[in-house]
Symmetry: C2
């Protein structure tokens, strides 16, 4: 079976486009476009990682020390972005949540339990089966998330 149905990662949206969308969203809801909100969006965009609020805050403080962005603002902005479906959050076993831009297309996650690296993927076959399952139960699917945990090839090498 040729591998034509599984795609790994890619970034589809230009930052300028994302920013325009965000501005439009704010305007639509009579919210203000502030420098903090832009910085948070931009930092999320430029990070390939999935960030915790704390990590995001630290990145911003390092990059824009003058701004003295408060952690509360990071939380508030992330909530705003999540409600608007601009970002998506992932919940992990322990405590804490990580955020990523959700404007990219839907995807699932492969998580390395050794190094924490997250690889994204989409598999058509799985997406199809999900519909079969929910249809069968009369369940109306709104969203789904899938995480596969394991050890990435790099960490396997390091161990041996």
């Amino acid at each position: 079976m040729p591998n034509i149905t599984t795609d790994f990662k890619d970034k589809t949206l230009e930052y300028s486009e994302l920013l325009e969308n965000f501005k439009a969203l704010l305007k639509k809801n009579k919210l203000k476009f502030t420098i903090q909100r832009e910085v948070i969006l931009e930092t999320l965009y430029n990070s390939d990682e999935h960030l915790t609020p704390e990590a995001l805050h630290q990145l911003i403080q390092k990059k824009y020390p003058k701004l003295k962005t408060g952690i509360a603002t990071v939380y508030r902005t992330l909530s705003l972005l999540e409600d608007s479906n601009v970002v998506t959050s992932l919940s992990f076993g322990a405590q804490g949540k990580k955020y990523e831009l959700g404007a990219k297309e839907h995807h699932d996650h492969l998580i390395c339990t050794e190094c924490g690296k997250i690889t994204e993927f989409v598999d058509e076959e799985i997406e199809k089966r999900q519909h079969v399952i929910t249809d069968e139960l009369g369940f109306k699917m709104v969203d789904h998330s899938m995480q596969i945990y394991g050890i990435c090839s790099q960490c396997q090498k390091n161990k041996s």
Copy 2:
């Protein structure tokens, strides 16, 4: 396509067997078998739901008011059970975690965002695809979890 690959829910292990396994596990690790630990295991077994530590604690207090079981003990026991793979935890978007007996066979979750009801299922096709995906990346799968969010048929009826 006949539906022969998707199974919905079932309970496979007798409580007595589960209890014996638990006792053996404790003995192996030189841990003690206490009434609190038994009550927590039993309550988890008799609940078809996925319980939060708080909910589990309340159930226990209602059923065994004399025992005055502390919430700390519930947390401590759940950690113990999770480390021993007797229970599995599910993390949710907001805060909080829910626990279920994990001795049952592996399964995924369908979660109703209206009423919170959780339906379990296993789909062979999806399980297969997961292996295809991880093999392709040289990723060693240890575990996975999948949640489908949506509105169950009952809640759809109630709304209309």
